[in-house]
């Protein structure tokens, strides 16, 4: 049985751990609110862009469609853009993303395709490198920036589009979590290059039936729009990961705080018991001594 002093030391150390996890939880809660507000603010742009894309994509199709929409005609080489967090202490978030990315990569490899990774964020690097030591391509560092914003998204998208134009890959997928709630983040795999045909094609925001004038031509507008659309997708992923990180962190730290509380209770009971035992032994010794006289 541990001595009284040892027990006391352990109680103090668990208490200070609890203080840290509690502080981290509160910080995450505050940051989560901010991240959610940012995600909310980005929605109008994404919605309008998607609507315009949908109405344009139906008009421009066939042979004269830009390569970013039509693809290279082959789907042999795949690029997986995996978005992870930069910091830890957010529960299983990074491992579920890595698991989703690995599953996708294995599925593609099983079909005989080539897979390359493009990693955003620091936390996914080590596990993915362990699983696929030869397939790690570029790593984009977001750890220097406090809140990855549109500029980072722009850089990532430009790099990916550049790789596409240089013929480094045929299809690109974006792997990121979708923030459902502080408890649930769903890892998602989404194709970004070639841009998938919009689901709600035909019912764009542009006037139904009315003749719309384009300046310059539809093709040229679409050509300008596609890179922008990809940027917006990447930006969306960065916002989702930010919200997910804070949400997961909040939940994980809440659990840690509660566990620390339980541990403190248990240790305190143990401490009191051994203290009482020590006192009883002392008393018995004194009484026995007095009786012997």
């Amino acid at each position: 049985m541990a001595s009284l002093k040892e027990l006391k030391g352990r109680i103090t150390s668990v208490k200070s751990t609890q203080k840290i996890t509690k502080a981290k939880q509160m910080v995450a809660a505050a940051k989560l609110r901010k991240a959610q507000a940012r995600a909310e603010a980005a929605r109008p742009y994404a919605e309008r862009l998607a609507a315009v894309m949908a109405s344009l994509a139906t008009k421009v199709s066939g042979d004269n469609a830009p390569r970013l929409l039509a693809g290279t005609g082959s789907n042999q080489r795949h690029l997986l853009v995996v978005v992870n967090t930069d910091k830890g202490l957010c529960g299983g978030l990074n491992s579920i993303i890595v698991r989703a990315a690995s599953a996708k990569a294995r599925e593609l490899t099983a079909e005989g395709k080539d897979v390359e990774f493009y990693l955003v964020g620091r936390k996914g690097r080590a596990p993915l490198k362990r699983n696929f030591p030869n397939d790690i391509g570029t790593q984009f560092d977001t750890s220097q920036v406090r809140d990855p914003g549109f500029e980072e998204a722009e850089q990532i998208a430009n790099e990916v589009i550049g790789m596409f134009e240089n013929g480094r890959f045929d299809v690109a997928h974006l792997v990121y979590p979708i923030f459902q709630s502080a408890l649930v983040q769903d890892p998602t795999v989404q194709q970004i290059v070639p841009v998938p045909a919009p689901a709600n094609a035909g019912e764009g925001s542009v006037n139904s039936g009315a003749v719309v004038e384009y300046e310059p031509s539809e093709e040229e507008i679409l050509e300008e729009l596609l890179p922008r659309f990809i940027k917006t997708q990447v930006f969306g992923a960065l916002l989702e990961i930010a919200a997910s990180e804070q949400g997961a962190s909040m939940t994980a730290m809440d659990n840690a705080t509660r566990n620390a509380g339980d541990l403190i209770d248990k240790l305190t009971i143990q401490y009191n018991r051994s203290r009482q035992a020590a006192i009883t032994t002392e008393l018995i010794e004194i009484i026995a001594g007095a009786e012997a006289l």
């Binding site: 940012r38 603010a41 980005a42 109008p44 742009y45 994404a46 309008r48 862009l49 315009v52 914003g149 549109f150 998204a153 722009e154 925001s205 542009v206 006037n207 009315a210 003749v211 719309v212 004038e213 384009y214 300046e215 310059p216 040229e220 507008i221 300008e224 729009l225 922008r228 940027k231 917006t232 930006f235």
Partner: protein, 85 residues
């Protein structure tokens, strides 16, 4: 007579208001949009969007970079990547 004008960036909705006229620096020349403009879509070159609150007022200039403008039933929507006021 008012034109619904919306200026949106990826980060936020910058403007959403009723104005008299907006002059947009289109890729093939500037164009002014009044209420009831025909449906129209254009890319934008980097430059200033001029917003006229009322018919005679001095324009307010908003610098924008990279984007496109869309005129529809619901008014004018300018999507820009960067905005500086």
């Amino acid at each position: 007579m008012a034109l619904r004008f919306e200026l949106v960036t990826p980060a936020k909705l910058v403007r959403s208001e009723d104005v008299h006229m907006v002059v947009v620096p289109g890729a093939e020349g500037e164009f002014g949009v009044l209420e009831g403009h025909a449906p129209f879509m254009s890319t934008i070159r980097d430059g200033a969007v001029q917003v006229y609150k009322t018919a005679g007022s001095a324009p307010e200039e908003i610098m924008i970079q990279g984007g496109f403008a869309e005129v529809g039933d619901s008014g004018l929507t300018v999507l820009a990547e960067h905005v500086s006021e």
